[in-house]
């Protein structure tokens, strides 16, 4: 296998590998979903998807009524702070894969399936792009490095938007890169893909900025003057994005079909002035901006497997070493690329530059003093496919050197494959070990989960670890008991009950008084709730503590 080859063509085996990667990842996600409790936000999205499902039903039976503004408002007002693509897919999956075809035994898994499918698409596209730019083995290393990031693996299970938006952002960027090689089809596809990305989550907003910057940088410092003089053409996709994507976005979100301007303004305002979350970082709980400048970087170091980061660093250095001379050379005067047709834009230099710009764009909000305090790593995981593509490039660099070091040619030819196995086994092991405690996982760089706990890094959020205690709750709760669910949304609790994970007779409640069992998901700012349990229950001894690698994450009190 030739390392580092920009194959340009996709062979049959690559299509086969895409299918294997997609299927394999989805099967792995499904196989590990059983004791992963429903996260807080999933509960809200279940509720919204149920409402949207009702509208889809109505659309089939009484289309005219379904399209009336009052009907749209009734069904689509649920969770209208986020666009509708994924929630619509959750609804359709529930309607057809659970209710019609009985493909899933649990409703919750049916709701989660679209998230898994779209997340797996991200792995596939990472592979596809890696194959084109770096060769098959490096593409595989990049794709599996992404799949075997424990946080990616965790979020890929969920009926949420974080890994789907990661995938859609990657797809859009890939399609954009292809469009730079020419062809109206790719340019149109870019507009469509960006519309779908807008319909997935608001992480989409900054991406066109990265594209424009890439366009300007690949043309060198005189880009604007050259543009005005008509000596370079603007890529068609930079027109199709503003022309096509708004239509796709609009079509995919019935909530904005009327009163559009006000509702869009509300949507933007909601996210620019998002209510604060609480996030523990190095022993301190942050709840209003600014977040520490190092937060995203340290959390990346602490949660992405070290070998993936090493390969990324190698790949980044190798890429920068290639980009800088090429860019300097262009400064000397007009080059073929500036006067060339658009097809010349994607080159060995411009693609890594695009990856780098997209990666930086994904981290950019954490450089602002005004970005609201959101949750953890899930808010910049859109950067990780690009990180993994650089890791693929780093792998090429490393594998070539390793092959040179092996004295026997018979062995040397297998060196890249062996190296690939070596760099993937650790992340695979970490990923499998992390389930179902995904958000509690930290890499050995910070001492794993115990080291992270000592450092004061967030142990868990979103109340999903209730799923890890479902057996204990079922065994110990009195008949018809009320269970104080703490950070678990009541809708998430109800889904656990509907799926038979939690006993039918157990009622979730947000009132400690009157409850027989009380949960506590450990976050410093949640201690208040635990103290209330102590006062109300009259003792401070948990009946059970759920731990990950010895670190307490959730505890259960009995009255």
């Amino acid at each position: 296998m030739k390392l580092g080859a920009r194959t340009r063509s996709f062979e049959r085996v690559d299509y086969g590998l895409c299918v294997v990667l997609w299927l394999g990842y989805v099967v792995l996600l499904l196989a590990t979903v059983k004791d992963l409790g429903y996260a807080r936000d999933e509960g809200f999205y279940f509720q919204a998807a149920r409402s949207y499902e009702g509208w889809f039903q109505l659309l089939l039976t009484d289309g005219a009524r379904a399209l009336e503004p009052s009907t749209i408002d009734r069904y689509w007002s649920a969770n209208h702070e986020h666009p509708a693509l994924m929630k619509s897919l959750f609804a359709l999956s529930h309607r057809y894969l659970f209710e019609s075809f009985g493909l899933f035994r649990e409703q919750g898994t049916a709701y989660r399936f679209p998230g898994m499918a779209v997340s797996a698409l991200g792995v596939v596209v990472t592979y596809a792009w890696g194959v084109r730019e770096l060769g098959r083995l490096a593409g595989l290393v990049g794709a599996l490095s992404l799949a075997f990031m424990p946080r990616i693996f965790h979020h890929s299970h969920l009926a949420c938007f974080d890994t789907p938006v990661m995938s859609m952002l990657l797809v859009t960027t890939y399609v954009y890169a292809r469009s730079l090689e020419g062809g109206l089809g790719w340019a149109i596809a870019t507009g469509v893909a960006y519309g779908l990305l807008l319909d997935t989550k608001h992480n989409a907003w900054l991406l066109p900025g990265a594209f424009v910057l890439h366009f300007l940088l690949t043309r060198g410092p005189h880009a604007f003057r050259e543009l005005c003089a008509g000596r370079v053409a603007i890529p068609t996709s930079l027109f199709t994005i503003p022309l096509i994507s708004p239509l796709v976005f609009y079509a995919g979100w019935p909530w904005i079909w009327h009163d559009t301007a006000r509702r869009l303004a509300d949507y933007v305002a909601f996210h620019l002035g998002h209510e604060y979350y609480n996030m523990e970082f190095l022993g301190q709980t942050y709840w209003k901006p600014p977040m520490p400048r190092l937060y995203a970087w340290v959390m990346t170091l602490a949660t992405v497997p070290g070998i993936t980061l090493v390969l990324f660093a190698l790949g980044l250095v190798a890429s920068v070493l290639a980009i800088v001379p090429a860019w300097r050379k262009r400064e000397a005067g007009p080059t073929s690329i500036e006067s060339a047709p658009r097809g010349a834009l994607t080159s060995a230099v411009s693609t890594p530059l695009l990856w780098l710009l997209c990666l930086l764009m994904c981290y950019a909000p954490w450089w602002s003093d005004h970005t609201p305090i959101f949750g953890g790593t899930k808010h910049w995981i859109t950067a990780y496919p690009f990180l993994c593509l650089f890791a693929g490039r780093g792998f090429v660099f490393a594998a070539e050197r390793v092959r040179e070091l092996v004295p026997r040619p018979a062995l040397a030819q297998f060196a890249p494959e062996l190296l690939a196995a070596c760099v993937l086994i650790g992340p695979l092991s970490m990923t499998l070990h992390s389930a179902p405690w995904g958000l509690s996982f930290y890499t050995p760089l910070v001492g794993g989960a115990p080291g992270a706990a000592s450092l004061g890094l967030n142990r868990t959020f979103w109340g999903y670890t209730t799923g890890a205690m479902q057996g204990f709750i079922n065994a110990r709760a009195p008949a018809h008991a009320s269970v104080f669910v703490a950070d678990t949304a009541l809708q998430s609790w109800e889904m656990m009950r509907a799926d038979g994970r939690i006993r039918e007779d157990l009622r979730g409640t947000l009132a400690i008084a009157g409850s027989s069992i009380a949960l506590y998901h450990h976050e410093p700012h949640m201690h208040r709730v635990e103290y209330q349990v102590w006062v109300d229950y009259g003792h401070d001894a948990p009946a059970a503590v759920g731990t990950f690698d010895g670190v307490p994450v959730i505890w259960v009190y009995e009255r």
Binding site: T285, W287, H525, H527, R528, Y531, V535
Partner: protein
Amino acid sequence: MTILDDQTYRRRRCLWAHPHGRDGLRLSFTNVPIGRETYGFAGLSYFLFRDGAHGPTTLTARVNGEPVGQYVHRDEWGWHGFRFDTARFAGQSADVELEVQSDDPSDRQFCFYADAR
């Protein structure tokens, strides 16, 4: 008695004294041994009130009906200390009245600890 979370979210045991209305809440303790000073800590749940959206809460202390001090607490301080000079009553047993009052009395989940020394 209850437990609230301080500004580091650690536990603090205290006497819950929620004033109702602008007239406030008066707590009377009889035959209390008085020291050179009365000291203590007061606060509201830091998590719930740390953004300081409410007005201040005032704790006024009287010994045998005579005012000995006043502490004005702001929510965003978390668990915060106060002290009143009671030297002129030192060594006596007296009636102590603590009054909790706020001009913004909604959600004044005020809680305090006090002792003499």
